[in-house]
């Protein structure tokens, strides 16, 4: 997967946050159960994605994204909406 695709960029940020290889990330992976995310991770992750894509993620949206795949899909949708 290209690092320049939205999915690649989101996975790169997640990988850096949790100190894993991007290719190890699977869509069904849970931030809490599989990546052992703490509240600090969530805050840092959201800020890093907001910065990377120049979007704003409301807290209530962030709470709905529990897996890697959900986060990728959310960012894709958000970026498309913002571009309109």
């Amino acid at each position: 997967m290209s690092e320049t695709s939205i999915e690649g960029r989101v996975k790169k940020i997640i990988a850096e946050q949790f100190r894993v290889k991007p290719e190890a990330l699977k869509p069904g992976m849970s931030f809490m159960k599989d990546l052992m995310a703490e509240s600090i991770d969530t805050v840092e992750l959201i800020a890093a994605i907001e910065d990377e894509f120049n979007i704003e993620i409301p807290d209530e949206d962030a709470e709905k994204n529990q897996t890697v795949g959900q986060a990728v899909d959310y960012v894709k949708k958000k970026v498309t909406e913002t571009a309109k």
Binding site: E16, I40, V43, E44, I46, A47, E50, D51, E56
Partner: protein
Amino acid sequence: MRLCIFEDGKFSNLYPLTYTRPVFDLRCGRTRLFEKIVRSFPGVETVFFTRNHLQPIFGDRSKSATNDMDALRGDDVLFVNGRILAWRGELKPSRDEVAALKGEDIAYVNAKRETISKFMSGSMDELLGRLKAELSPLRADVELVEYPWDLVRNNPKAIVDDFESFSGRGVFPKMNSKVEIYGDAGRVHIAETAEIHPFVVLDAHAGPIIIDENVKILPFSRIEGPCSIGAGSMIVRGNIREEVTIGPVCRIGGEVESSIVHGYSNKYHTGFLGHAYVGEWVNIGALTTNSDLKNDYSNVEVYVNGNLFDTGDTKVGSFIGDHTKLGIGCLLNTGTIVGVGCNLLGGEVLPKYIPSFAWFTRGRISRGSGFRRTVEAERRVMSRRGVEMSPSYVQMLQFTYDMTKEERENLIKRSKGRAIPEA
């Protein structure tokens, strides 16, 4: 005559403290630098000049003309460098038209109305440059603050100076019999509305103690002079050792030595703060401690404008910018700089330099929650003390965030490089 207090180009030597305030708004002793200068010229109208992003905030607070060139017209003006330490009775400028220099820096310029009109155009820097070039030079025997540790080093002298400048000092509240003033009670000022609880020791043997209005000192605190505690502050079982200034509306406990807490900051709990300058709206968690002496007793080095600088001093602590939060158990190395709006978690010795609006968690620097969420959190922090974060204040923070972005991103990249194991 008018008085013009200006900021010269050396403000960056005093980062992170001067990201969010003019140099002359820094505290040394009970008073800030500009207050000492103004005090030297009673009744004289004062005009201030600072960086543009600080003008709305400082202008509002000081209620004085700020960055207004027109305010300099129509009268003789004494231009005074805002970095001057104006000791009581010692700032006596020449009455002649002169440019008084300390090294290459302007200490002060005394200029007649006609001379100012002749050279007035462009910015304050340009005006001062022309006056420096045209007027007779004079070697000024004054002290200019060069680096943050100069404020800490001069703090004891400044507290004594402020105490001596105080008219109507004395111990005004009715004191509980279990409060001990150890030493000369004439070296202690306690404002009428201050509240000193039983089992408090005020030790004035080594220097004066100033306790301002509405200060509350809770039991089992020991305050050693020279010391100044600002209005509305609270000492919670504090071991406040010598040479400490605590500004207004602070909550201070644990051990503090030879330090300045600018104001509106908290260090409630056990933990050591020494030879440090802490900005506003800082919170220091329980057991957080800073080193102010290296194990080999060599000079402390501090990052100044991106370079490690030998302070020439063996006792130098930390310099912490406004709105920074230090969690429980943070360990700050000798001569550490922490920027504005940082969030640091403890558990290990922190890096010696943390850029503004960065987080340090689990061994690495990150962007943390970003600017918007940081401002939201700080708005809540300020409102708890009854202070509203104005739109111009947010703009000032945004300016600081933007100007520190490149440095922050570079250090985040370097930090990631260290923290992530090779694949």
